[in-house]
Symmetry: C6
Subunit: 72 residues, 6 copies
């Protein structure tokens, strides 16, 4: 595996927690797009976000600006 996926990193574990807890998140991207949904999986390069209709979006990590839990 590449050097940007280290299960001991707090940020990687936080994303794992978001997956496990089915937390709805907002992912801000370099284009200023905001992808909203639940994180299904992550790997070295990508996150997969499922929207309200369970449609997947494969987000490249290189384009992520921030992630935050959606405040309900």
């Amino acid at each position: 595996m590449g050097d940007d996926f280290d299960a001991n990193l707090p940020s990687v574990r936080q994303v794992q927690t978001l997956i496990k807890d089915n937390t709805e998140v907002e992912v801000k991207l370099v284009t200023s797009d905001l992808v909203v949904g639940k994180v299904r999986w992550q790997d070295n390069n990508c996150l997969c976000i499922l929207d309200h209709y369970d449609q997947p979006t494969i987000v490249w990590k290189q384009s992520i600006v921030f992630i935050k839990p959606k405040v309900s």
Copy 2:
């Protein structure tokens, strides 16, 4: 081969599945361009997308923000 193409990665396998299934996708790029078509091949650096007229566009992976299957 470079370290960003690992056939065991979920994201790489997902793209391989998109290629095999001839799925129409939307590829969002850092310029906010949206390239629509079918993924023909991928390598370490690029994806090749064929549009409706079978014209190829070689997309640099470094510029990809997200990919999603086109909802018909």
Copy 3:
């Protein structure tokens, strides 16, 4: 750990000081967003910023343009 987290680097130590001192900061991002709050933790890839309501934002370091202490 990756090569961009080196506790001997001045910049990493400065962020550690911001965390320890609970300093309110402004983080400017490549999208021109300004995230304001306190740095809770950092790792190789990310910073976590808590806003006034203690809501966390996980900021990808790749998207940081600058950080400065908020002038009160």
Copy 4:
């Protein structure tokens, strides 16, 4: 040589074919500029594009979003 120039990669070979065939291409860049012309050479870091007046533009690969053959 660096690890992003691998003559076995499909994308590198495709660019070599564009050079050999004197194909007119459109190169989209991160600034949204579109450089149009023929690819003269490539190396690890750059492509050289000749416009209609044979003026060269040295394009940094880091800034390429996509390349496509110009449809005549």
Copy 5:
């Protein structure tokens, strides 16, 4: 230390000279922000710029477009 801080590089030495000489500089960033002030220190990842009120801004090197001495 990482491979992007090499005290033998002209660019690194130039920044060291700017620090030593207390030169006022303009730092252009990818967001098109212009940070004006004196360079206090640099490391692998960052530059610290002090403005006229001695307020520090920690600039990520990844976001720097250019630096030039301010013409008085």
Copy 6:
């Protein structure tokens, strides 16, 4: 030295030729700024451009989109 400065690369040699020949160039940057002048030196990370008043601008290579000789 880092792996992006290889005197055998065509692109590096071309820039060396621009320096030796005192060629006036246009350097397009990711912010869409265009820096015009003569290249004084290059290293792994930067180019130094002198404008008409011999004022230097240290351009980070990471921000370069393209370089072309200025057509007179």
